[in-house]
Amino acid sequence: MEFENTIGLETHVQLKTNTKMFCGCLLKTGCEPNTNVCPVCLGYPGALPMMNKEAVKLTVMSGLMLGCEINRHATFDRKNYFYPDMAKDYQISENGQPLCIGGGVTIDTPAGKKFIRINHIHLEEDAAKINHYAAHSGVDFNRGGTPLMEIVSEPDMASADEAIAYLTALKEMLVYAGVSDCNLEDGNMRSDVNISIRPAGATALGTKVEIKNMNSFSGIHAALEYEAKRQRYNVAHNIPIIQETRRWDSDALETASMRSKENAHDYRYFPEPDLVPVELSEEQIEEWKGLLPELPEARRNRMMADYGLTEYDAEVLAQARERADFFEAAAKTSKNAKLLCNFFMSDVMAWFNAEHEEEPQTDAEAAARLSALFNLSLDGKINGPTLKELLPEVLEGEIADPAKTVEEHGLGAVNDTAQLEEFIRQAIAANPKSVADFKAGKKAAAGFFVGQVMKLSKGKADPKVVAPMVNKILSALA
């Protein structure tokens, strides 16, 4: 029998705030253990939480980007559990009235576009970090109380590839909007993965298995592929699939059952009495909406329309927000944005990608300089080699006014036809052997004369202009 997978993800994303969710402790990775702690995040009795407005804002912005409905009245609850990573024995979360409801992400699959629905996004606090040693364990509360946004998908994914496409799309959007760094190594983005199988075409869901706390895309992919196979094997051999939590063992490359305590998931949620509800006005939501950047897909389409870019160029640019901003700033004053884009995609991007001692400049002035330089080339005032030669200094800011530099250093292109013809005749007179080669049919000899003219013009002639002139004059001699 053919089986299909049903996959849903719960993705925890660390929000990019300066401080913790409910206290003013610094949020930073790599600090000495237990240095960013206070009575609130250590769970002292009587300490009261105060909500970080920035965390609410970033969650709402995420919801707006993902097409969620924003809950005008959101409340917080206590999720009770006993484990040493949570000193007060409950996690503050949103159970009944989360900030964002619905929405979704469109992914590309081999069969075309597919919409993965989101059930809701809620805001909560992270647990502390437990470190494991040979004979004991230790708790570091620096991470405790970090604002986490949990994005809960519907079980709409059918393969490991689709799950990764969904996560990649989420990550791109959240990083783009500056909501999170989504740095997987630092645990900024961790997912609990749910997977079940059912006969192809069936509507009822199979028994699901959860794999918790996965922080690498490759691990998630491998774990899902493994579970999909294991569950099919079980069904084929009449071994029951148990609803349980399993752990991915990245060394053994298999999932293993985690015999968690019975009743461990009865969290006895109840309303958090120490926090008042969040009520969002239309004005507040509109204000936060205004802070959202144009998303890559919309930007790609707009840049294709505005500048006549190819889909490929627009796509590449739109994915790199700062590059796209820089290009658009330069394009504003460019005499030909399409040609500027070609130059940008090759030479400017190469410059960005190369190593630099100083951070590349991408401000409005740098964009204006780039545009001014390229306009000189468009006007035929400098040739291609000069354009490339001046580019690094223009981007670094050493050349403030490209037109002035070209003028002062006599770098302007030689476009005077009479002057160029004179150079060609000089070259011919000085190199009779190459002329003979050309007459004997060696067409490559023409290239030699172009080189000679470039030399005579001190690099200021345009090879594209010179080549046809050389050919014409040499052919006339033959």
Binding site: T17, N18, T19, C23, G24, C25, L26, E32, P33, N34, T35, N36, V37, C38, P39, L42, M50, M51, N52, K53, E54, A55, V56, T75, N80, Y81, F82, Y83, P84, D85, M86, A127, I130, N131, H132, Y133, A135, H136, S137, G138, V139, D140, F141, K212, N213, R247, M258, S260, N263, A264, D266, R268, P271, P273, L275, V276, P277, V278, E279
Partner: protein
């Protein structure tokens, strides 16, 4: 919450990691049922159209700006730890990833 609220002290004690004797369980069961019954009097009031209330006041949006405030001295934070390991709160050896 229209249904009768039932309480199972033995189960709640297990969730709360409380060790109770059988006598205690029986005593607390009776006492807790008394409390639940008493609170259930609220059901006699017609609350049709009244939204659920979590607080005794109507304040909303008690926000804090995202500004860093000084944390505690680490030694002070660790002073209450029954045991410490290096600069961390010491625990018995626990199985990695068993919860959370």
């Amino acid at each position: 919450m229209g249904n009768d609220v039932k309480i199972d002290v033995a189960y709640v004690a297990e969730l709360a990691r409380l060790e109770l004797t059988d006598e205690e369980k029986a005593l607390f069961q009776k006492q807790m049922e008394g409390i639940v019954d008493w609170v259930a009097k609220i059901k006699e009031v017609d609350v049709e159209g009244v939204p659920p209330t979590m607080h005794g006041h109507e304040e909303v949006n008690a926000f804090r700006e995202d500004e860093v405030r000084p944390s505690m001295e680490r030694e002070l934070a660790l002073a209450n730890a029954p045991a410490r390991t290096g600069d961390e709160f010491k625990l018995p050896k626990i199985v990695e990833g068993a919860e959370s």
